[in-house]
């Protein structure tokens, strides 16, 4: 009797666990499915190259949003990547034995999960209030600040995977520390750092909250960083909240493009990192950075 009960309980709980896994995957497919169905339906080339029509007039596109999103994200990436990588190198190469920097490293990890809307509020005080109006530059800075901890943490983790012997060998040849970092550590961990960068870009590409009150929005094409600049995410937000049916359709289509972009970035990042999911794809990705091979094989 007891035995059957234990066996039943075992079966039941394990069944429940499997059910949970499928529950999670179920939502993923539902979200992606409805995005795909609605996104494809309303996806037109006009979406990318036409400017928005005045509210209520059907048609038009979201050219300012696409251009603005590209500008803001690239600028944020340009600011965020060097800073993040430099901090990551320091944590791994100089701060490894210092308690102070160990603590800072953990704080950086915490900053990765800071609510992104806080970044918007902070940059509003730093760059929007003094300038006097919303501007694209502040949006890029907010996203860059959001990105820095992400990249610092992944860079640090990747550099730690480089075997200590490689560093010691270089030191034995009389290399300076900066030479060891530049020519040995950095080269070996290139693929890993690339992963971190891709993940960082994926993270900021989908962000909305920090842009709401920094870059704001703009209905006409704007290349001036000191003026309000449209972005895809904020436009989606406004269009979904808006009353017009064609706004909703355009929001679906741009949401589809945005999600595909972000998912593609993170899938590529993960494939490059642990090439066991889609071997052939990762092989192609890795061939761009041949030197990283030795390291990625040893993971």
């Amino acid at each position: 009797m007891k035995k059957t009960y234990r066996k039943f309980l075992n079966f039941f709980m394990l069944f429940l666990s499997s059910l949970m896994a499928f529950y999670g995957i179920f939502w993923l497919f539902w979200i992606l499915g409805s995005l795909f169905i609605n996104g494809i339906k309303y996806l037109k080339p006009e979406l990318v190259y036409l400017d928005p029509t005045p509210p209520g007039v059907e048609g038009g596109g979201l050219r300012p949003a696409f251009v603005g999103h590209f500008i803001i994200t690239s600028l944020a990436t340009l600011i965020g990547i060097p800073a993040g990588i430099m901090a990551g190198i320091f944590f791994s190469e100089y701060g490894r034995n210092s308690t102070f920097f160990k603590v800072l490293r953990q704080i950086t990890d915490i900053m990765v999960s800071t609510p992104s809307i806080i970044m918007g509020a902070v940059v509003y005080a730093l760059l929007v209030k003094p300038i006097g109006h919303f501007n694209g530059l502040s949006g890029a800075v907010a996203l860059a600040l959001l990105m820095m901890p992400v990249i610092a943490v992944t860079t640090d983790e990747m550099l730690r995977l480089v075997p200590q012997q490689m560093r010691e060998a270089a030191y034995a040849l009389g290399a300076y520390k900066w030479q060891v970092i530049k020519d040995v550590v950095f080269r070996a961990a290139k693929v890993g750092i690339l992963t971190g960068v891709l993940l960082g870009v994926a993270r900021i590409t989908g962000e909305t909250a920090p842009l709401l009150f920094t870059a704001l929005n703009n209905n006409s094409l704007n290349l001036d960083l000191m003026k309000p600049m449209a972005s895809l995410t904020v436009t989606i937000f406004n269009y979904v909240m808006g009353p017009y049916d064609y706004w909703h359709k355009q929001a679906w289509a741009s949401a589809f493009i945005l999600t595909m972009g972000v998912l593609l970035l993170s899938v590529i990042a993960k494939t490059v990192l642990n090439g066991n999911i889609l071997k052939p794809l990762s092989h192609i990705a890795r061939s761009f950075t041949k030197k990283g091979k030795e390291v990625s094989n040893s993971w």
């Binding site: 394990l14 666990s17 499997s18 059910l19 949970m20 896994a21 529950y23 999670g24 995957i25 993923l28 539902w30 979200i31 409805s34 800073a83 993040g84 430099m86 901090a87 320091f90 944590f91 190469e93 100089y94 800072l104 704080i107 950086t108 915490i110 900053m111 999960s113 800071t114 609510p115 992104s116 809307i117 806080i118 970044m119 509020a121 902070v122 005080a125 600040l145 820095m148 300076y176 520390k177 900066w178 994926a202 989908g206 909305t208 909250a209 709401l212 009150f213 995410t233 989606i236 937000f237 979904v240 909240m241 945005l258 999600t259 972000v262 998912l263 993170s266 993960k270 066991n276 999911i277």
Partner: protein, 325 residues
């Protein structure tokens, strides 16, 4: 002779150059490490504090936390409705997500065949990669109508007449309410919790599990009596991490909460959270005290989420230390 001296000269320039670079590189790298790890969080706290000084002076701390009014016209601001809304939605979302994440972690670490593991892991991680605005939009267009027309009327018919519990299901089901928000929020935090729990499950030495199997335990008994007790602090860490995430979630909640500054009395009431108030009202704030109150809210949010995440970090680190091979 000349060759020797020129070589020496070259060597010494190389050496000074090397030493110079050594210091320069260390200084530059160190600055950014210091910036991201210390100055940056400090700067955030200081700026938020500085910007909210007006509201702090006017409303104080206790009064601001316990005042349920949010009245821009009369310039009377209190955070109670937002704080309660944030706590309720976060609590519900974490309660839904916890058993599911543990189930997912069990499935990935103990049950799934080897070829399936990366697929399930990857799919769950993809959930984390979907931008939060997409969750909000999808919830608003797809989930809200289903909740309003099917799920919530059914819940109301089934549980609405029960004593005590019935009050939770009162009101008009609109779909834009506590229940929908918590459901979507729970989907968003599942991947974070599941990945922390999975990693801690993987840390349990297999010799522990094997000894239990050797004593005749079933797979569930091993999980229940060996794996879960030994990863308790990891699970707690994952729980707190996802709580921190849920607290700061903005876009999805903004679509689904209804932005109604009231304390929800049932699951079908619309409500507001700190992040919703920030997202909706920041650009509308026309007076200094209005903006300052919003900064006060964001300072509270920052401090609370920072503390929560630090605790989570500490719990996970403790687990890692214990199992350090």
């Amino acid at each position: 002779m000349e060759i020797v001296s020129s070589t020496q000269e070259k060597l010494s320039t190389v050496k000074t150059k090397g030493v110079f670079f050594e210091v320069l590189v260390k200084f530059a790298l160190g600055f950014w490490a210091l910036f991201i790890g210390l100055l940056f969080p400090l700067l955030i706290a200081l700026i938020l504090f500085y910007e909210s000084r007006l509201a702090i002076e006017k409303f104080g701390f206790i009064h601001f936390l316990t005042n349920a009014n949010w009245d821009p016209v009369n310039e009377d601001f209190g955070a109670l409705t937002m704080i309660v809304g944030t706590i309720i939605s976060t609590f519900l979302a974490v309660s839904i997500a916890t058993p599911i994440s543990i189930g997912i972690a069990i499935f990935i670490t103990e049950l799934a065949p080897k070829w399936l593991k990366p697929i399930v892991s990857g799919a769950i991680e993809l959930l984390a990669a979907i931008p939060s605005i997409i969750y909000g939009m999808w919830g608003f267009f797809v989930i809200t109508p289903i909740m309003a027309n099917k799920v919530e009327p059914w819940l109301q018919a089934t549980f609405g007449n029960l004593p005590l519990v019935g009050a939770l299901f009162s009101g008009v089901p609109t779909g834009v309410d506590v229940l929908t928000t918590s459901l979507v929020l729970s989907i968003m935090i599942i991947p974070f919790m599941a990945s922390v729990v999975r990693d801690s499950f993987n840390m349990v030495p297999s010799i522990m599990k094997e000894s239990a199997y050797g004593l005749g335990a079933t797979q569930w008994e091993v999980i229940r009596q060996v794996v879960i007790p030994y990863t308790a602090s990891g699970i707690a860490g994952g729980l707190i991490l996802s709580t921190g995430r849920a607290l700061g979630e903005t876009m999805a909640v903004t679509f689904l909460a209804g932005n109604n500054p009231q304390i929800p009395k049932s699951l079908f009431d619309s409500f507001t959270t700190i992040t919703v108030a920030l997202a909706n009202q920041f650009t509308e704030a026309d007076t200094d005290i209005y903006l300052s109150s919003l900064y006060y809210l964001s300072m509270l949010l920052f401090l609370v989420s920072f503390v929560m995440l630090s605790i989570a970090k500490f719990m996970v680190l403790r687990l890692e230390k214990r199992w350090k091979v």
